[in-house]
């Protein structure tokens, strides 16, 4: 399916990441957003509030992030493509409903323009310390998908991907921007709607009946969704439920349900994966970086190559599920891994786990508030090569 031309602002624009994210949502077919203002994400909802009335959409500024994160799910079951937008403190409040979306398999997109934390932290400055929260923040076991754009162009392109993945796998998708990406202005090319692929809602082919099963999975473990108000008389609950959707309180139903929720992402991980690789063919040192830091390390790689050091960059664009197989492969041939991130070690520990002692791994941590100095990362590269 192609994008609805009404939402696609075709042309070349100068946009910051926040505004580009809004345009991506519009192109993806999102016409319903519930949000609450918070720096540095507010520009996304401000643009939505301006643009939506001209494309037949509705934006409601809710009373808080808790309300926003559940209102989108009411709208999703009402048939809409939905999103909410926030930053760290708001994300903390939304965790309850990330779990609800995972449990009820509600397609929805959560945009987190990350800032320095913990708590109120650094409202106007960047951080990447919500990566593990994005993955594990709500209680219980579940899997989500997280994307990490590094430019305004990607804020447009990957927002569309985020919507498509949320529809395809029926999961909450975390769109992990950060303050730098959100507030940097660059050229953004928005293509014709005929060039934009849209994943439609996976609507059920079953007819309404007494034995309709709301959560009967397809072969890829994802169930189809019914339209509301069409006679299916389905029941949605955050309690552990059987395929009919009815609550059942025992370990067997729990095992069947939660294993499927986890497996529908883990078993489809290779299909979900998006990575970028730079000069890895001969690389002795692999720098693993995502989001804004994946741009900073381009400079490190350039400086290293000038010095004759064989350095390459591996960038997970989809951070969760983590590209485990690819890291394991690289671990078989690289001499060392260097992982810079704007936190004190989150994705780093994933890399270390997968490298599993086959090569030294070094974290280049940073508390946020600014970006890494490429030269600092280079120093670590030189150390591991010594």
């Amino acid at each position: 399916m192609k994008a609805d031309p009404m939402g696609v602002l075709v042309g070349a624009h100068f946009l910051d990441g926040d505004h580009a994210c809004c345009e991506g949502a519009l192109a993806a077919g999102c016409r319903m957003v519930f949000g609450y203002p918070i720096t540095p994400s507010t520009e996304v909802v401000e643009r939505i509030a301006r643009r939506f009335p001209m494309v037949g959409g509705v934006f409601i500024q809710m009373e808080d992030e808790i309300a926003s994160s559940i209102a989108i799910q009411g709208a999703a079951w009402g048939g809409k493509k939905v999103m909410t937008v926030t930053s760290g403190p708001g994300m903390s409040l939304m965790q309850e409903h990330i779990g609800f979306a995972a449990m009820t398999e509600t397609p929805c997109v959560f945009v987190n323009v990350q800032r320095g934390g913990p708590s109120t932290g650094l409202p106007t400055l960047p951080g990447q310390a919500d990566m593990m929260q994005a993955r594990w923040g709500s209680h219980g076991d579940y899997e989500i998908i997280a994307l990490s754009p590094n430019s305004p162009q990607e804020c447009f392109d990957l927002t569309i991907v985020a919507f498509n993945m949320s529809e395809r796998y029926r999961v909450p998708v975390m769109f992990m921007m950060d303050e730098s990406v959100g507030h940097m202005t660059e050229r953004v090319i928005i293509p014709e709607s005929t060039e934009i692929d849209i994943e439609p809602r996976r609507l059920t082919r079953a007819q309404p009946s007494e034995d309709y099963e709301l959560y009967a999975p397809e072969e890829d473990l994802v169930p189809q969704m019914p339209p509301v108000g069409a006679g299916y008389r389905f029941h949605v609950t955050g309690l552990t439920h059987d395929e009919k959707g009815y609550p059942v309180m025992n370990a067997w139903v729990q095992e069947k349900l939660v294993r499927r929720l986890v497996d529908k992402i883990r078993k489809n991980a290779s299909e979900i994966a998006i990575n970028q690789e730079f000069e890895l063919e001969d690389a002795e040192v692999v720098i693993v970086a995502y989001g804004i830091t994946s741009r900073v390390v381009q400079r490190t790689m350039f400086l290293a190559r000038e010095k004759g050091l064989k350095v390459g960059v591996f960038r997970p664009v989809v951070v969760w599920p983590f590209p485990e197989d690819r890291i394991r492969e690289l671990a078989g041939r690289a001499k060392a891994f260097v992982v810079p991130e704007l936190n004190y070690g989150q994705v780093y520990y994933e890399v270390e786990r997968l490298v599993a002692g086959r090569a030294p791994c070094r974290l280049v941590d940073h508390g946020g508030g600014a970006l890494h100095d490429p030269a600092d990362i280079l120093k670590v590269v030189e150390e591991v090569l010594r």
Partner: protein
């Protein structure tokens, strides 16, 4: 189970495959369920256009027993979920059925803001003065001096007067009945199914297992007797006068029935005025 010709007309609206339900004998929640089904029958609206949204608690289990598209959401959040559902499907009738702990304590902020915006949803609140499912803790409407597990020497907090809260927040319809007043309660539900805007019905209900036992108020039947003897019908009463005291009078009635533009109507009016022909109206599909 009843068969064939003896089938209770209520059954076709309930998920009979989920019976028996979890509620205790003498619990008022079943009466509220019964009234709501009868209201659906009376109002003759298409059942498939109705969706029930609940939160968490004894009353929160209501959604699971109604044979309509039903949503059992998180604690305190049925109102914002319903706001999303209603906004996506303005042609549907969205009913929130939940308890006072869910709607007024943890969900209190959502309650007042949905009423303020006049979101077109119907909120039916079963008020049994306690957190029953977790064993009887003090709640936002617990009368002064009532005993609860977390107020073992009696509550010293001032309780909310729900009709007053609903009215001052902006609800278009406000009523209170007890489960003794089944006819009036059913009528109030018929009213709100047909009334646009944020409508609020408080259903005062016995919880014999937890609240009454702890406060030595007798069983379900005794509570019905209490409601009969201690209720006073005062339609149109000033909602400021509706406080409930331990063992005191319960003023019931329809207090508010007024018209205000709903959220989507107000949005549509403002945007069409401001944007003129640049405005692409959100297709609400509502015919009124």
């Amino acid at each position: 189970m009843s068969q064939g010709e003896h089938r209770n007309p209520v059954e076709s609206f309930l998920r009979m495959d989920r019976m028996p339900h979890i509620w205790c004998p003498g619990c008022g929640i079943g009466i509220v369920v019964n009234c709501f089904v009868r209201a659906l029958l009376k109002s003759k609206i298409d059942v498939d256009s109705v969706s029930v949204v609940s939160g968490i608690g004894c009353t929160g289990r209501i959604a699971g027993y109604f044979k309509v598209d039903s949503f059992h959401t998180t604690h305190g959040r049925p109102i914002p979920f319903a706001t999303g559902l209603k906004t996506a499907r303005p042609d549907m009738n969205i009913v929130v059925l939940s308890g006072e702990g869910d709607l007024i304590a943890i969900g209190g902020n959502h309650f007042i803001h949905a009423a303020r915006r006049n979101v077109d949803i119907k909120v039916i609140c079963v008020n049994n003065f306690t957190y029953a499912m977790t064993g009887g803790q003090v709640g936002p409407t617990a009368p002064l001096h009532s005993i609860a597990t977390t107020a073992p020497y009696g509550s010293h907090e001032r309780p909310f007067n729900l009709p007053f809260l609903a009215e001052s927040s902006g609800a278009t319809y406000v009523a209170r009945w007890t489960t003794y007043h089944v006819r009036q309660l059913t009528k109030a539900m018929v009213d709100v199914l047909n009334k646009p805007g944020f409508c609020f019905v408080e259903a005062i209900a016995p919880c014999p297992t937890i609240y009454q036992r702890r406060n030595r108020m007798g069983d379900g039947l005794e509570m019905m007797r209490f409601y009969r003897e201690h209720s006073r019908i005062a339609n149109g009463a000033d909602t400021r006068s509706l406080d409930i005291e331990m063992g005191g009078e319960i003023v019931v009635g329809k207090f508010i029935d007024r018209d205000r533009p709903t959220y989507l109507e107000a949005m549509d009016e403002e945007l069409s005025k401001r944007l003129g022909n640049r405005y692409v109206p959100y297709p609400t599909g509502v015919k009124r």
